[in-house]
Symmetry: C2
Subunit: 145 residues, 2 copies
Amino acid sequence: MMFSKACEYGIRAAVYVTLQSLEERRVSFNEIAKEIDSPIAFTAKILQQLTRNNIIHSVKGPTGGFEIEREDMDMVKLSMIVKAIDGDKIYTGCGLGLKECNAQKPCPLHDKFLDIRTDLRNMLESTSLFELATGLEVGLTYLKR
Amino acid sequence: MMFSKACEYGIRAAVYVTLQSLEERRVSFNEIAKEIDSPIAFTAKILQQLTRNNIIHSVKGPTGGFEIEREDMDMVKLSMIVKAIDGDKIYTGCGLGLKECNAQKPCPLHDKFLDIRTDLRNMLESTSLFELATGLEVGLTYLKR
DNA sequence: ATAATATAGGATATAATTGTCTTTTATTTG
DNA sequence: CAAATAAAAGACAATTATATCCTATATTAT
Ligand code: FES
Ligand code: FES
């Protein structure tokens, strides 16, 4: 609804990688897909995108898998994942589908829509992977149900 | 992104019907599609949905077309249109795609997501077609381009 | 070096959404 | 009543999003 399926899987996957990297564990896409309850091959594609965008790091071969550096856990915000997977139409598009969102020639919902979207944007730009992983770590939140 | 294309067209169409009904004019789906710059046949389908959900009123035959009662312009909120076309997943779904959004077993983004979604919901539930049409009427807002 | 392992990449399949076309039904006017 | 008009309905087509499968490439351990 707000994010594509691919983006939802991408965020859940990145948070799971973060959680495991906190314990120095590399994880395979098989494990990730199982733990976040997502389609394996599709998840692998999404992990490729995250890797190409330097959001997570991948290592091939035995003992390989996905990981994320400790400093990146703080640096990587949700907005970066959303942008890598869904692009920035979530920021730039018109809520009523006009060709562009423009205050000079706004749709009837423009002002109200912009309020919501600005809040969403601020939230995504200020939320780090580390922050999301900590709730998981102490069992307060879940990646599947 | 936030709404489906169908929903975007639906809102724009309903606002246009409202604007014209303020001047006692019934409008055909051909005119609506032209004025909101949307695919004609697809728009006709969406107008059917709005009619079935008693959001706008349709009249067949010569002099027929779509219209909306003056009192309905205030009574119909955007939330009703969104619900009629996109269903209520926008209100009930989990932002990270968990099978359900539930505070007992929340995803890592639950609290922050709920804040945004509540604002969106309040906005949609408090915004009437009349309110949106008035900006159009005085040339402050636009339904195409 | 070789075998085993794990991600990368490309081709393909399936499902959902978006969009078109044609026929039917209801209504109004002459 | 007949002709014209406009929405309703159903079948179909195109596009996009989601998902799977198979092969290639890189890396590690033996
Ligand atoms: S013009 Fe529609 S949201 Fe800005
Ligand atoms: S559980 Fe994910 S948004 Fe509520």
